[in-house]
C-alpha cells in the first residue's frame, strides 16, 4: 500500500518536474510545478509529516505559485523567442555537477543503513503527542532563535518587494 502510493506520487512528481523544464509556456510550467508540489505533499504525509504537508500546499501551491502565475500573466511574456537550449555556465561546472550527481546516486544506492544518531521522536511518540504539537514543541524551544530570525528575513523580503515593484516615487 505505502509502496504503491510512493511509486504513484514519485512517478507523477518526476514526470511533472520534467514537464516544468521542457514546456515552452511559463504558465504550463507553473501548473506542472504545482502538481509536483502536490505529490511532494503526498509523500510528506507518507513520511508522517502531516503539518509540513499542509504547509507545503498552503505556502507553496497556495501562495508562492499564485504569485508566480500572477506575474507570468501580468507580464504576458508568451513563449520563448527561440527554441533550443544551451548551457549558460562554463562546461567545467557542468562536469562538476554531473560527477557529483553520479556520486550521489551511487552512494545512495549503495547505502546500507541509516548512520545518523537517532532522536527521541519515533513514529509512535509523534503519533502519541500529535505531529503538530511535537513539531511546535521543538520549534518553540530548541529553535526559538531561528524562528525569530525568520521574521526579520520576511520583513526584509517585504520591504524589498515593495521598494522594487512600486511605481515612481
Amino acid at each position: 500500500m505505502e509502496l504503491t502510493l510512493f511509486v504513484i506520487f514519485g512517478a507523477v512528481a518526476v514526470a511533472s518536474a520534467f514537464m516544468v523544464i521542457v514546456s515552452r509556456n511559463p504558465v504550463v510550467s507553473a501548473l506542472f510545478l504545482i502538481l509536483t508540489f502536490f505529490c511532494l505533499a503526498g509523500l510528506y504525509v507518507l513520511l508522517n509529516a502531516q503539518f509540513i504537508a499542509a504547509l507545503q500546499i498552503i505556502v507553496y501551491a497556495g501562495a508562492i505559485m499564485v504569485l508566480f502565475v500572477f506575474v507570468v500573466m501580468l507580464l504576458r511574456t508568451g513563449k520563448e523567442a527561440r527554441r533550443g537550449y544551451r548551457l549558460i555556465f562554463q562546461k567545467s561546472i557542468g562536469i562538476i555537477f554531473v560527477v557529483l550527481f553520479l556520486l550521489l546516486l551511487g552512494s545512495i544506492t549503495l547505502m546500507v543503513s541509516v548512520t545518523g544518531m537517532r532522536g527521541p521522536y519515533t513514529a509512535e511518540a509523534v503519533r502519541h503527542i500529535g505531529n503538530t504539537q511535537a513539531f511546535a514543541s521543538v520549534l518553540f524551544t530548541d529553535y526559538l532563535y531561528p524562528f525569530e530570525i525568520i521574521s526579520v528575513l520576511l520583513l526584509a523580503g517585504i520591504i524589498g518587494a515593495v521598494v522594487l515593484a512600486k511605481r515612481k516615487r
Partner: protein, 487 residues
C-alpha cells in the same frame, strides 16, 4: 499540551537585537522625513552600528552557548562582529552623498543595510546549521534588493537578477549539503556533528562527503571562488557602487565566518578530504582572478576580479587550518575591509551620476589635480598588492607563513607569484593617475562630502597603522580564537 519555554538570556544576542531594532526604527522614522533629509537616517543607522559594536565589546571574553546551543558567544564571533560593523559603518559613511547623487536616497536603503549586517552577526555566532543558513539568507536577501536599488537603471536591475538567481541556486546546493550532513550524522549542531564523526560508521558514509562537497559549492558561490565566480564581475559592476563595496567586504567575510565554523568545528575530522579540494580552489581562484583582472578597463570590474583573488589568498589560511591560519584570516579580513572600502570610496568620489566615469582612463591626471585623494588611492592600491609599509603586506605575510608552517610551501609560492602578478594591474591604475594626461579637459570638480572624507581618513589611517604597528590587532585576533580551536 503545554510547552515549557526555554530560558533565554537576551544579553547574548544584544548586538543583534540592537541592529534589528535600529533597522525597524529607521523604517519608521523614514515615514516622517522629507526626501532631502533622509541623510539623518544615516546618522541613526551609525548610532545603531556603534551601539551594536559597544554591545559586542561588553560581551568580549565570554565563551558559552546560548539558545539551546543554537549560538555560541565567544571571542571569535565577537571579533567577526567587529569586522562586520566596521565595514558597515564605513559603507554608511560612504553612502550618504552617493545615494543622493544617484537619486536612490530612500530610507529603506539604510534599513536593508542594517538587516544585512544583522545577518552577518548571526552567522558569526552560529553554532548550528540552521542558524548559519538563515544568517546567510538574511545577508543575501537585502543584498539582492540593494543591488537592484537603482530601479530605473537597467544594469542595476540585471545585476540584482543575476545575483538573485545564482544566489538562490547556490542556496539550493548549500541546503542539499546541509541535508546530507544532517542525514548522515543525525545532528545539525556543529559540536555534536564533530562528536558524532568519531564513529567510523558515520565518518565513512559517502553521503557525508557528498554533503561536504555541496556545502563547499554553496559557500563557493557566496564568496565567489573560481569556478563559481561568474556572477561576480557583472553584479559588482551593475550594483550601486556603495552596495558593491558592502558586498565585496561583508559577504566575503560572512562567508568565511561560516566556512570556518563548518569546516573547523563540525567537519574537522574530515580535514584530509576538504583540504585537497580547497587547495585546488585556492590556486584556481587566485590565478584566474588575477589574470582576468589584468585586462579589465572598468574600475568596478577590476576590483571585482581583485576581490576574487583575495578570496583565494584567504583560502590559504583555511587550508592551513592552524591557530596561526585562523588568526591570520581574521587579521586579513580587517585589513581587506579597510583597503577595499577605501578604494571603493575613491571610486565613488570619482564617479558621476548614473554610475558614469568608471573607466580607468577617467582616472588620468587625478593624482595631480587631487594630490591627497591620489595619495590615499595609492596607499590602498599598494596595500591591495601587498607592498611593505602597508597593512596588506603584513596580512599576506602572516597568511602565507601560516600555509608554509603547515607544509603547504608550493601553495604559498603560488600565492606569492600571484601577488606579484597583481602588482601589474594595481600599478597600472597608479600609472594612469600620475603619468597620463586626461583626455577631456573640462572635468567636473569632485565634491568631497564629509561622510566620504571621514571614511577615507579612517581607511587610510587604518591601513597605515596596521601596516606599521600590527601587533595590537594581531594579538586580538590570536585571543579571539583561544576558545575556538581548543573546544
Amino acid at each position: 499540551m503545554p510547552i515549557p519555554l526555554p530560558t533565554v538570556n537576551l544579553i547574548d544576542i544584544s548586538p543583534e537585537i540592537i541592529l534589528g531594532v535600529f533597522g525597524v526604527l529607521v523604517l519608521l522614522i523614514d515615514l516622517f522625513l522629507r526626501r532631502e533629509r533622509k541623510g539623518h537616517l544615516a546618522v541613526l543607522s551609525l548610532i545603531g552600528v556603534v551601539g551594536a559594536f559597544y554591545a559586542s565589546l561588553r560581551l568580549w571574553g565570554s565563551s558559552h552557548y546560548a539558545f539551546s546551543q543554537s549560538i555560541v558567544v565567544d571571542n571569535l564571533s565577537l571579533f567577526f562582529n567587529g569586522i562586520f560593523l566596521l565595514g558597515t559603518a564605513l559603507v554608511i559613511l560612504m553612502s550618504v552623498s552617493y545615494i543622493r547623487r544617484e537619486g536612490i536616497n530612500l530610507g529603506e536603503y539604510y534599513s536593508l543595510l542594517l538587516f544585512s549586517t544583522l545577518g552577518m552577526l548571526i552567522i558569526s555566532s552560529g553554532n548550528d546549521l540552521i542558524i548559519l543558513f538563515l544568517g546567510l539568507e538574511l545577508v543575501s536577501i537585502p543584498l539582492y534588493i540593494l543591488s537592484g536599488f537603482a530601479r530605473t537603471n537597467l544594469k542595476s536591475n540585471e545585476a540584482a537578477l543575476k545575483y538573485l538567481l545564482l544566489g538562490v541556486f547556490a542556496t539550493a546546493f548549500l541546503l542539499y549539503g546541509i541535508a546530507l550532513v544532517y542525514g548522515s550524522t543525525g545532528s545539525i549542531k556543529l559540536p555534536m556533528i564533530a562528536k558524532l564523526l568519531s564513529d567510523t560508521a558515520v565518518s565513512s558514509n559517502p553521503l557525508l562527503f557528498i554533503g561536504m562537497g555541496m556545502l563547499i559549492i554553496g559557500f563557493g558561490f557566496k564568496v565567489a571562488l573560481v569556478p563559481f565566480h561568474m556572477w561576480t564581475p557583472d553584479v559588482y559592476e551593475g550594483a550601486p557602487t556603495s552596495v558593491t563595496a558592502f558586498m565585496s567586504v561583508g559577504v566575503k567575510a560572512a562567508g568565511f565566518a561560516a566556512l570556518l565554523r563548518v569546516l573547523l568545528t563540525a567537519l574537522d575530522k574530515l580535514q584530509f578530504s576538504w583540504v585537497s579540494i580547497l587547495v585546488v580552489l585556492a590556486i584556481l581562484t587566485m590565478t584566474v582572478g588575477n589574470v582576468i583582472a589584468l585586462v579589465q578597463t572598468n574600475i568596478k570590474r577590476l576590483l571585482a576580479y581583485s576581490s576574487i583573488a583575495h578570496a583565494g589568498y584567504l583560502l590559504l589560511g583555511l587550508v592551513a587550518g592552524s591557530r596561526l591560519g585562523v588568526s591570520s584570516i581574521l587579521f586579513y579580513l580587517v585589513v581587506y575591509a579597510l583597503m577595499n572600502l577605501g578604494a571603493f570610496a575613491v571610486v565613488i568620489l570619482v564617479g558621476r551620476k548614473g554610475d558614469q566615469n568608471l573607466h580607468l582612463n577617467d582616472y588620468a591626471g587625478l593624482g595631480y589635480r587631487y594630490p591627497l585623494m591620489g595619495a590615499a588611492m595609492s596607499i590602498f592600491l599598494f596595500s591591495l598588492a601587498g607592498i611593505p609599509p602597508t597593512a596588506g603586506f603584513v596580512a599576506k605575510f602572516y597568511i602565507f607563513s601560516a600555509a608554509v608552517k603547515e607544509g603547504f610551501v608550493k601553495l604559498a609560492i603560488i600565492g606569492v607569484l600571484n601577488s606579484a602578478l597583481s602588482l601589474f594591474y594595481y600599478l597600472r591604475i597608479m600609472v594612469i593617475m600620475y603619468m597620463r594626461e586626461p583626455e577631456k579637459k573640462e572635468v567636473l570638480p569632485i565634491l568631497f562630502s564629509p561622510g566620504l572624507v571621514i571614511a577615507l581618513l579612517i581607511a587610510v589611517l587604518g591601513v597605515l597603522y596596521l601596516g606599521i604597528l600590527p601587533s595590537r590587532v594581531l594579538d586580538l585576533a590570536t585571543s579571539a580564537i583561544r576558545t575556538f580551536l581548543s573546544g
